[in-house]
Symmetry: C2
Subunit: 310 residues, 2 copies
């Protein structure tokens, strides 16, 4: 068994970084050589979590095939969200909580997919099933990933599995989940310190929907005005990125983590399909209120998929 790399998606968020760290540790405990790496620098929220638990950022890689023959994916499976040379390596393991899209392999593999709120929760149950102890700093990162992806259990993606894992991880990590969680989420919402590109593209993912390329960014905030006071500049950046990367549609979902509502900003083509997806009209500022929407995966991508591919 030769060494493998373990990594999450591009534009890494806290759940992706935590999952890579924890799954590499898990594989190490089972006797396999695995190194957690990242496809980008940690965001402010993840930096807060790493700092809290005394960990350094993961090494950032651009390509995998120059280092290893085989990789393990966490928190993603869509090739366009992965390392650029994924087709040059084989994928031996996937641990994920997203839909399957465009992911094909030449050989059988290990896949552990659950429709849970975070991959951190799936991994927590995997450690429990094999009776492997979770060190405090790994538990702290898994707790952070779980809090980040479920917005402290408020997202509709939250399951009973997540609700059970949260206090279990908080105890192992030695922190108060609610207090620490709100601090961590707020650390990720300091928009004044973020560039326009970081806001629109920092957490963005590309989706191939009905033959078109749809880019969907999401930004968390405690005040939607912090986003839309900069709307003109953000739209300019979205148009610029679309031109450079060939996106047909660019959507930014601005989510207020305190009241769990979102507002959508639209740029590009297919306005009719976006309106059909959410059964609402874009206003003359190219925006649409999405009350109660906080989950891109569960509340944004599925209706868009239906509208673009239906």
């Amino acid at each position: 068994m030769t060494k493998e790399l373990v990594f999450g998606h591009q534009n890494p968020d806290t759940d992706t970084i935590a999952s890579a760290m924890a799954f590499a540790y898990y594989q190490n405990q089972l006797g396999y050589e695995a190194e957690a790496v990242a496809l980008g620098e940690p965001n402010d929220e993840t930096k807060f979590a790493l700092n809290q638990f005394g960990l350094k950022p993961l090494r950032v890689i651009e390509t995998a095939a120059n280092e290893v023959e085989s990789v393990m994916l966490v928190d993603h499976n869509e090739p366009q969200q992965s390392v650029s040379d994924l087709d040059q390596v084989s994928v031996s393991h996937v641990v994920d909580h997203h839909r399957i899209n465009g992911f094909n392999t030449a050989a059988p593999l290990y896949m552990q997919l659950r429709p849970f709120g975070s991959v951190s929760t799936i991994l927590t149950e995997m450690f429990q099933a094999k009776n492997i102890n979770i060190p405090a700093e790994i538990a702290g990162m898994l707790l952070s990933g779980l809090i980040s992806d479920t917005l402290l259990l408020k997202s509709p993606t939250t399951t009973d599995h997540d609700r059970e894992a949260l206090p279990y991880l908080a105890k192992l990590a030695g922190v108060d989940a609610d207090k620490y969680g709100l601090e961590m989420l707020k650390a990720g919402t300091n928009l004044a310190a973020k560039s326009d590109e970081q806001i629109v593209d920092g957490d963005a993912k590309t989706f191939e929907l009905g033959g078109t390329k749809v880019r969907i960014g999401q930004v968390n905030t405690v005040d939607l005005n912090d986003v839309f006071d900069r709307q003109a500049d953000l739209e300019t950046k979205m148009n610029e990125l679309s031109a450079t990367n060939g996106y047909d549609t660019f959507l930014l979902v601005a989510t207020n983590i305190l009241d769990s509502d979102s507002e959508l900003l639209f740029v590009g083509a297919n306005a009719d399909k976006v309106e059909a997806a959410f059964d609402a009209k874009l206003n003359d500022q190219h925006r649409m209120a999405l009350p109660g929407v906080v989950s891109r995966k569960k509340q944004v991508v599925p209706p868009l998929t239906a509208a673009f591919e239906g």
Copy 2:
């Protein structure tokens, strides 16, 4: 939670039938309403197993959307091997040991994939992990599926997980694994009683390789002459099925289960790619010896994929 159907692939083999039965039972024990069904009548080997353990064949369905909104797949994920209206239902669960190919979903789901010799083995470990007792007749079917897919642990797909599951299941089922296993395998090789179509297509699967449709059948025997004495008729049937169904290439892998060797029969286009795949020439009878080859999944599909898509 409304009722879901649980089924394996078209042209069901023993592992697919056993997996559907066992996973439906497993879901029932967890409190969910699930019914095991089949996409075709059981083959002779599966009939032998059902008879041994006092079970009736599963109900055969043609479509799923007329009965349920959601289904659970076992032992397959490629849509062309599944129910014809798979795109009309959502897939909530997959338990499988094949590569991922062309399988996409609109939403996150439960997937338990392992590169083990049989899905029966994966399910055995799932019962163990949840401490759910396996009734004797379900254990007998899982044992049969495991023996069938691994040719009594002789196939190169066999893993330590399969080797551990076999005696465990045999004890629960109350049979001698080697004695019962050889009888069951032989029951599936009574070629005299099989039509040409049953031989070439009874266990066949379609693979989309590099834009072409490749049909690959496999037949087990205790004497390769029982197959090739009928070669002219088999080729006629393969050509006929290719014309009707648009297969570009049709391969029949005849496997001697006693000495673990195979002989390939070729019909259609792309002879050069088939020869490249196995680094050998087809003889003037359109045949090629494949010494040591018994596994379509591990020893036939991967080299063909490389040759057709490389």
